[in-house]
């Protein structure tokens, strides 16, 4: 058995956490853009996508980033310059703050909040402020409309997201993401512990609601009313160019990755493999090599989930604004409330 029991000093741990945090945000963003936005979309539309830069166009991403960085940073004359400059940074920072609670292994955690899920949902709502002020400070009516639509949509879909998570919290008996991972991997299905007990089995409704809400929170098609290019040019991003647009762009796909991480922790067992395979009894008994394998498992699950998000994005037409609001308030929220009630009753009864 491999043993990686190293003693890392505090400064080393902090350095690892900072580098890991940057990696955990930027690596998924780059992978999603290349794999799904460049390649999967192209194949679905019977074309090849970028092929020139690097083998199979794999260096295209660097070319794009280089292109954005050298563009002029244009600020409209009537814009509120200070806030206009800060807005994209608020969005990206909220993504970095979001990844902090995600556990990637038994010891590979940034921080171990006892109210981890709650923190993730709270920080997820901070980016709305960035989007709103981006729309307002651009001094452009398309931007303002886009910002307002985004805020209305994000408020509406945050509720079903929070309520969908409550089912998982009831079942795991904890808000700590690490505890939720352990609960899923040390569980058993009617005494058979071959695959642990991923909550997607009992919380399938919650999982569906969560993924739909994530799709809407990310303003991906079919929920892209805030940036609807045929009506609003590009919504709250209309006036942004150069590296500020790049920050919005990275923020969008990085948040997709981080939400997929959170969904895989909540519903698909997170970094863990069923503890019974190696006879681990608790979190402390898990071997150290899981700190290396765990992030790889998380990355795989993240790619599957973002693959689904992107697949839906490339397949469906856009919802109208009223359909979008009605769907959240009249379908998703009542359904998630019913899910909570059923979960709570079954939890007490069984």
């Amino acid at each position: 058995m491999m043993n990686l029991a190293l003693e890392i000093p505090y400064w080393g741990q902090s350095l690892l956490r900072v580098l890991g945090g940057i990696g955990a945000v930027l690596l998924p963003a780059g992978t999603i853009v290349y794999l799904f936005l460049f390649k999967m979309m192209s194949f679905m539309q019977s074309r090849l996508g970028p092929m020139e830069a690097g083998p199979f166009g794999s260096m295209q991403l660097l070319a794009e980033v280089g292109k954005w960085l050298q563009k002029e940073d244009i600020i409209p004359e009537n814009a509120d310059a200070k806030i206009y400059k800060i807005a994209p940074i608020i969005v990206l920072v909220s993504t970095f703050l979001l990844v902090v609670v995600v556990p990637f292994g038994p010891d590979a955690v940034f921080t171990n909040f006892s109210a981890g899920v709650f923190y993730a949902l709270a920080i997820g709502s901070v980016s709305v402020i960035g989007i709103l002020v981006a729309g307002w400070s651009s001094a452009n009516k398309y931007s303002l409309l886009g910002g307002l639509r985004a805020a209305g949509q994000l408020i509406a879909y945050e509720l079903p997201m929070v309520l969908a998570v409550v089912g998982v919290v009831i079942q795991a008996g904890s808000m700590n993401l690490q505890d939720i991972v352990v609960a899923q991997n040390s569980g058993s299905i009617f005494g058979w512990d071959g695959v642990g007990f991923p909550f997607v089995l009992t919380q399938f409704v919650g999982f569906l609601i969560f993924m739909i809400a994530v799709q809407a929170e990310l303003t991906q098609v079919p929920f892209d009313m805030p940036i609807a290019e045929s009506e609003l040019v590009s919504g709250y991003m209309t006036e942004y160019s150069g590296f500020r647009f790049l920050i919005f762009f990275i923020g969008e796909f990085a948040t997709a990755g981080v939400f997929a991480f959170i969904a895989s922790v909540l519903f698909l067992g997170g970094w863990g493999i069923p503890f019974s395979w190696f006879g681990w009894e608790s979190l402390d008994a898990v071997d150290n090599w899981m700190n290396i394998v765990g992030p790889i498992i998380m990355l795989t699950k993240m790619l599957v989930l973002t693959g689904i998000i992107m697949w839906v994005r490339f397949s469906y037409p856009r919802f109208r604004e009223d359909q979008l609001q009605r769907f959240a308030w009249k379908v998703l929220i009542p359904l998630s409330l019913a899910n909570i009630a059923v979960t709570a009753i079954l939890k007490v009864a069984i």
Binding site: S114, F118, A122, S125, V126, I129, V133, G135, L148
Partner: protein, 173 residues
């Protein structure tokens, strides 16, 4: 001053408290002196974020997260949403001051004075020891589903009544 550097007091925590408090005071002043409504609202976000960080310093993790969720994520977003829906002017505005400010300031000072006096009178001599670890969410939920159950339910009914009232007021037909 000596109590700030006593052996059982966490100095880093105290220094952090005063730094954040200074930022919060500055933000609060900017909220009322600013010439633009959206800027004032954004300074209010800074103040509320400061409150959340003070809770974190006091190891009240759950309260801090609730603060972010409720005040920054919901209340301030609705504030900004409302402002931008109704008056979205960019740049300085001149008619922001209310006529009643001369009454408002003494009332605010009186309120602040009373609160400070009450707190100093009650807890002035006490030194809080730094907690071993943050209060767990389970402990909090145990408290307000056992001893605090009646006030908790009463509050829920008040909120329900407010929600129903808002719907009744907003409905035209």
């Amino acid at each position: 001053m000596s109590s700030l550097f006593a052996a059982d007091v966490n100095i880093a925590q105290n220094v952090g408290f005063y730094i954040i408090a200074a930022i919060m005071l500055f933000g609060a002043l900017r909220v009322v002196t600013g010439r633009n409504v959206v800027h004032a609202a954004l300074w209010l976000v800074v103040v509320l974020g400061g409150v959340a960080s003070q809770y974190l310093l006091a190891a009240a993790e759950f309260v801090a997260i609730s603060q972010v969720m409720v005040y920054i994520g919901a209340v301030m977003v609705l504030f900004l949403f409302g402002i931008m829906l109704t008056r979205a002017t960019i740049g300085e505005e001149s008619d922001l001051n209310n006529k009643n400010w001369s009454i408002g300031i003494p009332v605010a000072l009186l309120l602040a004075g009373t609160l400070v006096w009450v707190i100093v009178d009650q807890y002035g001599g006490e030194v809080l020891t730094s907690p071993e670890e943050p209060m767990s969410t389970t402990a909090i939920s145990d408290v307000f589903l056992r001893e605090g159950l009646v006030p908790f339910l009463a509050l829920s009914f008040v909120l329900l009544a407010a929600a129903i009232g808002a719907i009744v007021l907003a409905r035209k037909d």
